[in-house]
């Protein structure tokens, strides 16, 4: 029987880049999953959690747990939102055994998209084509909290025509950090400027990553600098959905 997978689309993808949501659904369906999009979803609560607002974080987490617990798996096209559910939700309920058990159960079946395809569904090859030289940025939460590093590179290697040029320090933060990038915009700018230098020096003509927050930050900086490097979520490439405009680009 096909796995019943609930898509947690994440707030940024929902609002800014629906294409990533559709690409995720295509990848999951191609891999044989039965995909559902529960309508009662908003955000994983990171903005509140990382601002120290525990009360709202807990309320948001409880609502998300209720919405998603009926399914076999929960998949999100974001390392940081998946890590929030997987690594941080159980810790929110240390004083409440019942909720902690529910949070833990959800944690166990929640995955970031690319690692889900690779580690759980054992997808080895992807049927996609892209004649581009790409570079891949390792978003922090995905890399350090979920160990996502080899999986996207392996799947990208199976995309026909695609070559990968690693940038220097691909595992160093891009300076996004959620609300950090607006609260400490000067520092964030210094960090993202180093990142865009490394991206440009890689010689790639497309930048990929697995988290829309980081992608919007890097794309916003690249475009402000007048760069014509295309920026996309890795799911768009894997799903062969790169016909539409790239992030921060106009419709053709």
């Amino acid at each position: 029987m096909a796995h019943k997978v609930a898509l947690f689309v994440t707030c940024l993808v929902d609002l800014f880049r629906p294409t990533v949501g559709f690409a995720t659904i295509k990848l999951l369906e191609d891999a044989g999953c039965d995909v559902v999009v529960p309508p009662a979803q908003t955000c994983c609560g990171q903005p509140a959690y990382n601002s120290g607002d525990r009360e709202d974080t807990i309320a948001i987490a409880q609502q998300l747990i209720k919405t998603f617990e009926p399914y076999d798996y929960v998949v999100a096209p974001s390392g940081s939102c998946a890590a929030m559910i997987k690594k941080h939700y159980p810790g929110l309920f240390t004083d409440d055994e019942a909720w902690q058990a529910r949070a833990q159960a959800l944690s166990d079946k929640t995955f970031e998209l690319v690692s889900f395809l690779s580690d759980v569904l054992k997808v080895e090859n992807i049927d996609a084509k892209l004649d581009k030289n790409v570079t891949y940025h390792d978003s922090c939460s995905g890399l350090r909290e979920l160990g996502i590093s080899a999986q996207p590179r392996k799947l990208l290697a199976s995309v026909e025509g695609l070559s990968l040029s690693e940038m220097k320090d691909s595992d160093v933060c891009c300076g996004f950090g959620g609300t950090f990038c607006v609260k400490y915009s000067d520092i964030s700018n210094a960090i993202v400027s180093k990142k865009t230098d490394n991206i440009a020096n890689s010689g790639a003509d497309m930048l990929l990553a697995g988290d829309l927050g980081c992608l919007m930050n890097m794309a916003g900086k690249l475009k402000r600098q007048g760069s014509n490097i295309e920026v996309r979520h890795v799911a768009e490439v894997l799903a062969d959905m790169t016909d539409g405009p790239a992030i921060a680009e106009a419709k053709k």
Binding site: T19, S51, K223
Partner: protein
């Protein structure tokens, strides 16, 4: 070099640091030098992660039984002829040191590197009391000449360029020939050695820090690369060890375990060049050593951390790895943090010691990239503890009210999916239209923090949920 605390001005300090060209140039050494060396040391020692677990467990056990080990330590020090002075806060520690110095009529004091000395501001205090403190660690010596404070816990002068050091030496060492060559780092080190040699011989008291205090033996341990610490503690009549209470480690064996992760995490060396153990004053028949041996044991807020969510921070062995790998530290350097402890460890420790009201900026100034925790040899969950500080700040209503209300308004919607989707189904198409032409938005009211430096990618069109709902509806109709 009066110590001025500017932690609450972190943001403007950071701005100044970002505009400082020399500093920016110097900071590239942190990024390049330390990281690669640590990496090579790791790669050469497959059991490194196991050693980290051991180190963590040793310190956890110690902290659970801290009172016991502190008492045992004091007993051993006393037995070996030394004296332990308990200092509840910085002022008490300063006065204890002054009294020891005065009792022997000290005029000059040599100092090994010690962050606790910075924490209690001992140099200013001694100077005010007509006792000359002389830094003997090269980095500390350089910043003393410049009237600055350390900007890094293991490389205090990492913010200074070699050319600037040359300038300082020529300015201060006027008794040396002007035509001398000071181009190489080695020539600078040689010159500092020469100048310091006399001072070592004339000092009345030597103050060192301690990397570890061993409860089993009453021994203090320092690790250095220049050997200056040894001369500081052996030559003068009186040796004062200045250390905070969490430096206690149960046994010699425990210390040798933790030493295996310390230098590797700090500089990538297997061991520092000198690891020096000192136990009590000179005994009969000893060829050298001080006549008096004192230990100042400083609390200064640490015992309040025991049993709190910040207890893990007391495992820190001050290796500096967290700041060496921190993108924020790389961008602004150590002085921006405004007090003794910079980088991620400072972002947790500083508010613990000075209070969240003044230290609150630091735990906020992190992207939570997690690299600090990934490299910390003591496995200290630094981001988690920074978040705990943010929670305390939020509970106490200490964060800016505009931020607070923005967050509350957002949370109101995030908790009500139907309302949220309705609101977004209006807002997002509007935003999309604003950026329609270029696919991005150059400036937007209330988004200045973002658009000052970057464009805002425009939303594609309608929200995913809107589009999905429509598709599902069409599917239903088709059935």
């Amino acid at each position: 070099m009066t110590q001025i605390i500017t932690t609450s001005n972190f943001k403007s300090n950071a701005r100044t640091a970002l505009d400082d060209k020399n500093l920016q140039k110097a900071l590239t050494h942190v990024e390049r030098g330390f990281i690669g060396k640590r990496r090579s040391a790791m790669d050469a020692l497959p059991e490194f992660d196991q050693l980290r677990d051991n180190a963590r467990d040793i310190k956890n056990h110690t902290l659970e039984n801290l009172d016991l080990y502190l008492e045992a330590y004091e007993e051993k020090v006393t037995k070996s002829g030394g004296k332990v002075h308990w200092a509840a806060d910085a002022e008490e520690a300063r006065n204890q040191i002054l009294k020891i110095c005065r009792d022997v009529g000290a005029k000059t004091v040599t100092k090994g590197k010690s962050m606790i000395a910075e924490e209690i501001g001992i140099n200013d205090f001694l100077e005010e009391n007509k006792i000359e403190p002389i830094e003997t660690d090269l980095g500390e010596y350089i910043i003393q000449l410049r009237g600055e404070t350390p900007s890094h816990i293991i490389a205090p002068a990492v913010h200074v360029l070699k050319e600037q050091v040359e300038e300082d030496f020529r300015r201060v060492h006027t008794h040396l020939p002007e035509a001398r060559n000071l181009e190489e780092p080695e020539s600078l080190l040689d010159e500092a050695r020469k100048v310091l040699r006399e001072k070592f011989l004339n000092a009345d008291v030597g103050i060192t820090g301690a990397n570890f205090l061993i409860a089993e033996t009453g021994t203090s341990v320092i690790v250095t690369n220049e050997g200056n610490g040894d001369l500081t503690q052996i030559l003068p009549k009186v040796h004062i060890v200045l250390a905070s209470i969490e430096k206690i480690t149960p046994t010699l064996e425990d210390v040798s375990q933790i030493l295996r992760v310390l230098a590797r995490s700090a500089t990538g060396q297997d061991m520092s060049v000198y690891t020096t153990f000192s136990t009590g004053p000179r005994r009969e028949g000893d060829p050298d050593g001080p006549e008096e041996y004192h230990v100042i044991l400083l609390d200064n807020g640490r015992s309040n951390m025991i049993g709190s969510e910040f207890q893990d921070m007391l495992r820190c062995i001050r290796c500096g790895s967290c700041m060496n790998h921190c993108p924020v530290y790389h961008a602004v350097g150590g002085h921006a943090y405004g007090w003794v402890y910079p980088g991620p460890m400072g972002a947790v420790l500083t508010p613990s010691l000075m209070g969240i009201k003044d230290g609150g900026q630091l735990p906020n100034a992190s992207t939570f990239c997690g690299r600090c925790e990934a490299v910390c040899p003591m496995r200290i969950p630094l981001p988690k503890m920074m978040r705990s500080w943010r929670e305390r700040e939020f509970e106490k209503h200490l964060n800016p009210s505009l931020q607070r209300w923005g967050l509350k308004a957002w949370a109101y919607f995030a908790k009500r999916p139907k309302l949220y989707h309705l609101a977004m189904s209006f807002a997002i198409p509007v935003l999309s239209k604003i950026g329609w032409k270029k696919g991005r938005i150059k400036s937007l009211p209330f988004a200045g923090g973002w658009t000052k430096y970057r464009d805002l990618p425009a939303p594609e069109s309608r929200t995913f949920q809107q589009q999905w709902a429509q598709r599902e509806a069409l599917k239903q109709e088709a059935k």
